[in-house]
């Protein structure tokens, strides 16, 4: 086991608005070693993007971390000063956002946007930073990088802009890269190419990767471990092979069953399974297990008590009462 780079324990995030306080993330715990890849899967509203924003401590207005511990390479993230946090963002923890069309500043040249983290964090001159930017653009497979340094974002395609976002993220050699649905806005063929790029960059630079997605197929291609989120909590977490082949939580099983896959003609079931019902809305969480209203296997404790994360060993945890009833 590698040294832990990121340790999160019992993290909770609250949204405070005119209607009162609503818990968005609840009891989230993850550990991530140097160079590891964790996939975080969930439907929209499951809290996965809030988690992506909570790690660099840059939550949107009205959101705040209300409980929990977070350590980056042993350092308490919750105790960091604003200046230390700014340095952490960009220099140690970098983020790629979902929408490449809106995440680059329209009036700054690509060269400026890729170079500025090196100027701010590594105190390079603009000239040296531009030279580094050129290498970075080459590294993310951008054709004619010299010309692209002088381009503006609107002069490039979505896939190209997302690669630029990758170059921006890598500019100060971060130890952790958080990619929040990086391929969702891209064309399917470009998606696979981008995932290959991320994997090859990871091999080259050795950063740890948290890949947030709603697509289990993306996780299966990319990640060693996967965590499944539902209603602001992790319901199941383990190695990708274990979780994909022997899912234990009924929600994970439903997700896997609803994945489209190629089947031979005439196969018995060519309809996709669906999970009945709607995902819960923050503020209107059902009591007990948050999945129980949609769960076909619910039984006596499910609508009353929230299941703890049962530890099944070898870094596998499942938050479901079935584990106590029939499990190890």
């Amino acid at each position: 086991m590698t040294a832990p780079l990121l340790e999160i324990e019992d993290l909770a995030v609250d949204a405070t608005g005119s209607a009162g306080t609503v818990r968005i993330l609840d009891g989230v715990s993850i550990g991530l070693g140097e160079g590891e890849t964790l996939g975080v899967v969930g439907e929209s509203g499951s809290g996965k993007s809030t988690l992506a924003a909570a790690i660099p401590r840059l939550l949107g207005p009205g959101l705040a971390i209300s409980a929990g511990r977070m350590r980056l390479a042993g350092e308490d993230v919750m105790a960091m000063t604003p200046a230390r946090l700014r340095r952490m963002r960009g220099a140690e923890v970098a983020t790629i956002l979902q929408d490449p069309l809106h995440s680059l500043t329209p009036w700054l040249r690509i060269g400026t946007q890729v170079a500025e983290p090196a100027v701010v964090h590594d105190r390079l001159s603009w000239k040296a930073a531009q030279a580094r930017a050129l290498d970075l653009l080459r590294g993310v497979w951008i054709p004619e990088p010299e010309r692209r340094l002088r381009s503006y974002p609107h002069e490039m395609s979505g896939g190209m802009r997302q690669r630029v976002a990758g170059a921006v993220a890598l500019s100060c050699a971060p130890r952790l890269l958080i990619a929040d649905e990086p391929t969702t806005a891209l064309d399917p063929t470009i998606q696979l190419q981008y995932l290959d790029l991320l994997k090859s960059l990871q091999r080259e630079h050795g950063f740890a990767l948290i890949l947030i997605t709603h697509d289990l197929g993306v996780v299966a291609r990319t990640c060693q471990r996967v965590g499944v989120m539902y209603g602001g909590r992790f319901v199941e977490i383990g190695t990708t092979a274990e979780v994909m082949e022997r899912p234990r939580h009924p929600y994970t099983r439903g997700l896997i069953a609803s994945m489209p896959r190629l089947r031979s003609a005439g196969s018995r079931s060519d309809r996709l399974a669906i999970i009945p019902g709607q995902p819960p809305v923050p503020g209107q969480m059902p009591p007990g297990c948050r999945f129980h209203p949609r769960c076909a296997q619910r039984f006596e404790p499910c609508d009353r008590d929230s299941p703890p994360a049962f530890d099944l060993g070898s870094d596998r945890r499942v938050a479901c009462w079935l584990e106590r009833a029939f499990g190890t």
Partner: protein, 308 residues
Amino acid sequence: MPGGRFFLRRLVYAAISLAILALTVLAFSKVGGDPVTMMLEPGASQADIDALRQRLGLDLPFWAQYLKFMQNAVTGDLGTSIYYGQSAVGLYFDRLPASLLLAGTAFAWSVLLGIGVGVTAAARPGCVLDRVGAVLALIGMSMPAFWFGMLLIMFFSVHLRWLPSSGSGSWRHLVMPAISLGWYFAASHLRLTRSAMLESLQSDYVRLARLKGMPEWRVILRHALPGALIPVVTLAAINFVLMVNAAVVIETIYAWPGIGRLLYEAISFRDIPVIQAVVLMSGSMIVLLNLATDLLYVAIDPRIRHAE
């Protein structure tokens, strides 16, 4: 060069706007009554009236008058003042320097203060400067200029005796008119800057700039501000034209010898050629400044050049 075609197209639009403006100005001057009856003595004979009509071209059909008006306008002739007996355009340009001085001063402080406070207020909503700015903006937007101008005179001229109450000639004469004139515009610049900045600060690119660990001044000035400046520049350009040409109340209160006062006098004497000249000249100034701001947009946001 894409910029060239952009400019040419804007130039054509500008010419069309001016032609329509001239048509409107001429049509409205017809609604205001027959100028001939004001130019002649009461009780003038019908023959005299007809002769003057013919001399002024008022017997021609409207379209012919419009063409004649346009033809003269292009050569810089907008008629002769009924009251002063001088060229209307000449009168306009005589008064222009005084108006430019007053409007320039008021514009400078209203833009600097409006944008400065607007940006600061948006960066920290609810801070002291934001609250003070909101109150001052509310006062500026809702207090009539003539009343505010009088209050300033009461306080600084009558009570403290620091500044002359009216006239022109030294910087001390400029202070109160420039404050009164700029007040409303500072408020409007402040409010627009603040709301445009708040919107820009919520964008994905500002979020990414913060995720890159950029210092806050860089996030605000380099990433967020250019997007917010586009509507502010548009508003400021039109406001400048209004300050030069339509400071009627302020220039009258402070007896400032500018275009606003010329317009006030022309309206009181029903001096239609002068009114037409002021309206047409300020319309041209708006069109020209719009052209200039279009070019400024391209400098601020490179996407606009390509959207053409």
